[in-house]
Subunit: 324 residues, 2 copies
DNA sequence: CTGTTAGCGCTTTCAT
DNA sequence: ATGAAAGCGCTAACAG
């Protein structure tokens, strides 16, 4: 079943079928209806490899994430998809699992014309160069030195404000739980800046810079810290999952939140509302980030020589019970 | 940059380039190396529309989910992807957002040869017929009456066992919080069966059959039930998010878990471990479900006339503090 | 083992 | 507004 079959079946040239299938406007309405009727009758669907071999655009963008098990991405993906629909684009999600080989495969998929471009959500920095010849945009985990199109928040500023808030509600000995990924390092920089500004000496024993988004790890580290007899009255966690682990450990250890220890998380994930003590957290405007990323990529495919855009989206501190 | 450019550049026929690019074994090792060198030098990538126009297989499967924000799917997707790698297949994830129009688009994508087949994770029943002419398998949310390839647990049995466990630990007045989707209805059927078997009369005021996976709803319903003065000493929630809402509401209402009220959830999501009281829950073997789904689809693409397989995977009750 | 050739299904000139 | 015909990049069949 191909365009020629339809052509013979209804006695119209393949070119006209093609025009109808692509919604070109230089087709007589009566002819259009006649073609559509035949297409429906035969159940014909345009063969995409055939079309894409000729046509430039696939009307598909890929989104690349580490893994969909990070709930942070779901809303960004959704907002990208919403924008895509408006522009008659479709989205396919690809998981990298942090494998460079897979990043390479996705870059090649664009070069191979499987899709028009790709949005890299919090990509591994080493992988970015693979995409230099294809339309792409990086959303999240960007560095100040990036020269490609980017969308991100100001993580250092966000970390600074979160810790400033902790200090404002009375915390002086503040634990920092972060990751050794780009934004984690930026947030930790903000943490140190806020301490310095308040005249609080940095205590290395309160910094855990190598934790990932792991509930059990957050729980364990705080349990150990209490057991070690290290005094602290505030926690800045670089994400809500760590913060939840910390809070549950505090409660299990007989501490009250926020009376004894104030806690701030990051990302405003559902966990921050589901925690026994709802968590004060930094919200990244995920909807706006996704929309902006789509728009930049869309423009990029129209004009590949456009200057790189570096968009910084404003974040927001959401105050909940864990600090007040 | 196409296969002919490479051909001219290194003075070898396009057919041989093609053979090398596809890892055919009827190529002289020296020739293979010579071609590879030229390909690397030129940065040539096979044009996929061109290849797929001739070749039958895209080596791509789609996975369709409602939305990636449901953490239940992440591990299934991961295990599918792991299997895919073994068979040199690639996966693209598509979100339906429950829109029939989008299901239709995904079915057409297969017909249009964008991909070889599709795994439908917990699809809308009305959408399944769209896929009748393409290789597909349904994983989750299946009905006893389905005649296509399916992979699922026995939800009625799982609900029955969960409630039997509640009764076993002393609960008599058991709330049931479920959804009006297929597996929710099956689990509620299991709930009623367990009550009947224990000689406990079904109390309609304890059944909330229309709740979705919404933390706030779970919290609210239990808060209201306590306010209404309705006595209960057990809760069977059809998923862990509802269970978490319920437990937090109980604690806020001054009840002890499990001493006053025992709670069982469903799915063994991360929430069930992160809750203030770790939750007893029914684990669906997601890894096995994903692997099986891949395997069935893979076989299906090899032999489209094979009989439909209906695989039922065994579940497991994970006992945690919320019931003992 | 390698080359030649035809043609996959579509869209796009170019005619009319 | 419609049709005829060329050709996108690749692989399979055939030849050698």
């Amino acid at each position: 079943m191909n365009i020629n079959d339809v052509s013979k079946h209804i006695g119209v040239s393949p070119a006209t079928i093609s025009r109808v299938m692509n919604n070109y406007d230089n087709v007589n309405p009566a002819m259009r209806e006649r073609v559509m009727a035949g297409v429906r009758e035969l159940g014909y669907v345009t063969n995409l490899p055939g079309r894409n071999l000729r046509a430039v655009s696939t009307k598909i963008f890929l989104i690349c994430v580490h893994s969909i098990d990070n709930p942070f991405y779901a809303e960004i993906v959704r907002s990208i998809e919403q924008e895509a629909i408006k522009h008659d684009y479709n989205i396919m999600i690809c998981e990298s699992y942090l494998s460079l080989k897979r990043y390479r495969y996705f870059a090649d998929s664009i070069k191979a014309k499987r899709a028009d471009g790709i949005i890299l959500l919090s990509p591994r920095e080493e992988a970015i160069e693979y995409f230099k010849d294809v339309p792409f945009v990086v959303c999240g985990e960007t560095g100040e030195d990036y020269t490609c199109d980017t969308v991100d928040i100001d993580s250092e500023k966000a970390g600074y404000e979160a810790v400033k808030h902790l200090i404002g509600v009375g915390a002086r000995k503040i634990v920092c739980m972060g990751g050794n990924y780009k934004s984690g390092i930026q947030r930790i920089r903000g943490y140190k800046k806020a301490l310095a500004e308040a005249g609080i000496a940095f205590n290395e024993r309160l910094l855990f810079g190598e934790l990932f988004n792991d509930y059990e790890e957050g729980y364990k580290k705080i349990t150990e810290l209490m057991a070690a007899g290290e005094a602290f009255d505030g926690i800045f966690a670089c994400n809500d999952i760590l913060a939840t682990g910390a809070i549950n450990a505090l409660i299990a250890g007989g501490k009250r939140v926020p009376d004894d220890v104030r806690v701030v998380g990051f990302d405003d994930l559902i966990f921050s509302r589901m925690c026994a003590v709802p968590i004060t957290t930094v919200r990244q405007p995920r909807k706006e980030m996704g929309e902006t990323a789509f728009e930049i990529l869309f423009e990029k495919t129209k004009n590949r020589d456009a200057d790189a855009r570096r968009v910084v989206i404003g974040h927001e501190l959401i105050i909940r019970k864990s600090t007040v």
